[in-house]
């Protein structure tokens, strides 16, 4: 893929680490963060997906709509507390029965996220935690900030919204340089891939994603 002027020169890490964190700074980014988290499932892994969310989360941001999710239908855990989400995530990751476990853990401590990472390694699975901010410490190998971007527009109808487009910023990666990438939903596989049609993206739209750091790099 040709490097685009807005993207970081670093290669986008397609393969997910055992534990990653997807942070949605604003409420409108939640859908993008969830889509990004689900896209961290290894393509060849046929095991199902576990989603663990609190009732408060479900009430605030809506319930997952399986018809709109790419990939196999998930198992949804409707927990009452973040502690239950952590427990469900750990059980799921450790069991080896799921390929990916995504959970809204709230403010998990370093020790809690480390437990999740151990469980994910044990079960050969990928864990992604959803958060609202990146202030606290975390054992997540990669910490992403995800934001939704205006789409490039529909190929056939300029007035219609195009494929989902989001900006992801690797804020902290162990042994990796931070970078910014723009991902777009593939219209056939519905997986997220690096956007190659960047003509429609205005720099102002991605400024909020921290893409300036990428520009300067």
């Amino acid at each position: 893929m040709t490097p685009s002027p807005f993207a970081s020169p670093e290669r986008f890490p397609e393969a997910a680490a055992p534990l990653e964190e997807a942070c949605a700074p604003l409420p409108r980014d939640i859908g993008a963060a969830l889509a990004f988290a689900l896209s961290r499932r290894p393509v060849a892994d046929a095991r199902p997906v576990l989603l663990a969310l609190t009732r408060a989360w479900l009430g605030e941001y809506g319930r997952p709509f399986a018809s709109g999710l790419a990939g196999p239908p998930p198992i949804l855990v409707g927990a009452t507390t973040p502690a239950e989400v952590l427990w469900a995530l750990e059980q799921g990751l450790r069991s080896g029965a799921v390929s990916l476990a995504v959970g809204a853990v709230g403010d998990a401590t370093l020790a809690q996220s480390r437990r999740l990472e151990f469980a994910a390694r044990h079960g050969g699975a990928v864990g992604v935690t959803l958060s609202r901010g990146l202030e606290g410490l975390s054992a997540a190998r990669r910490r992403w900030r995800v934001s939704t971007l205006t789409s490039a527009g529909d190929r056939d109808d300029a007035r219609a919204p195009g494929l989902a487009r989001l900006g992801v910023e690797l804020v902290r990666g162990r042994g990796e340089r931070p970078g910014t990438w723009i991902l777009e939903q593939d219209d056939e596989t519905h997986r997220l891939r690096l956007a190659d049609r960047l003509a429609g993206v205005r720099p102002a739209a991605i400024a909020g994603t921290g893409a300036r750091a990428g520009l300067a790099a």
Partner: protein, 522 residues
Amino acid sequence: MSVRRRSLERAHAPASPPEPALDPRQPFALTLKNGRGAVVLHALNPAARAAGLRRGQGQADALAMLPHLACQPADPAADDRALEALAIWAERWSPSVSLDPSPNGLEGLFLDVTGAGHLFGGERALLAQIRERLAEAGIAARAAAAPTPGGAWALARWSDPDGPAPVVGQERLRERLAELPLAALRLDAAALAQARRFGLKRIGDLYAMPRAGLARRFRGTGGVELVRRLDQALGYEGEALTPVRSPPRYRAWQAFAEPLGDLAGVEARLPELVDDLAAALERDGQGARSLTLTGFRTDGGTTSLAIRTGRPGREPSVWLRLFREAGLGRLELGFGIDALMLAAELVEPVLARQTALHDEAARQAEGLAALVDRLSARLGEDRVLAPEQVDSWIPERAERWRPALAGSPAPLEGDPGRRPILLFDPPEPVDAIAELPDGAPARFTWRRLSRRVIRADGPERLSPEWWRPAGDRRTVRTRDYYRVEDEAGGRYWLFREGLYGREYGGGEGERAPSWWMHGVLP
């Protein structure tokens, strides 16, 4: 066998401190409004009965006879609940316990102890144990064993309460019943009054009567009923009893000489029970999908804990883990339990899956089922969910989350590009401005934020399911769905409910079409 309860549960309920009802020498009665609105006596203590009061008597009448009679309103629903709880407790003696189904009879239990007597050292010993245990739990009871429910009902009520509980075999049943009054046949008041007029007093008086004549003479007051009750008592006609809980096919059982007072004791006994049950299932090639652990408390109550699994199994270690996951601490031991029962309610044959184990997909399915079992045991079945598509085209109805225990999730027919990733159910109201009445919105306010629409796609029209009326009885209208994108990059799924022109003419009392936020697209 019938156990008659004479205790007045309500009398023991804590009330104001000077409680005349607690003193058995004080006459006390529970009252109830009868069908005609009059307040009548519903239950009496021995002192009130000795004073000549009877059940069904008007309260005013009773107070005239006995001015110091203490009365409290009865609570039949609470009585039913208490009796049902007692019935479950009585499952320690028989897997099939039913409530007395006769009208006015909600104070007795039938235990089918066919073939169970020898477990307790004979039927006499069993009856003695029943009376002893109930007395320890503070429940005055009478018991009798007979070949028919009707016979046991009669003998329990008309035998000497202080003597040994009667045990009557088929050969002496007819003779023993003959000397009892007609009321022992579970008849209604009208039939009894009619019988008194004919001079029939004892059950034995009926033996010589021609049956057709009996039925005819008691016509209008339940003549057929009289003959049927007689036949049921004597065993000429069968009587179906409905157990409070259907008897489980497999159960393991342990009774303790000393009541267990703490969870550690229960936890120590559990592995043995689990092994027993697993062995019984193994013998028959069966596996359990739901198990209930019941503790029988010394105070006449029961406490139970249930687990369910997605597929039939009989692995003791898995069950033990699920019980711990579900929380043995939820068992309320009270003053101690003296018996534990583990019953398998839902039993299915286990197919030998030895060959399938090599299959990667099958192994994964096993792993997922085990995970779902564990999550469900700890968090609750209704909290671990899998999506399911339903025959409906209203989005919030077309897909629902059902307990994952019911089966592994089936692949869905989705449309990820055009359907939201998160759905608001119910949809949230939105203030929207459209350039054309039936066009896409140009601007909308949702959750107090005003957003300018830069791109929109639609409408995708969903017709109302007219055969399903809305809950609030308003007419269901067409929905026009739009995928819109605002200037900040948010993508949303909005719809307008109602069509201009066809469904809304601008008339008085009509609802104008309104905008709703239904979901977020990635």
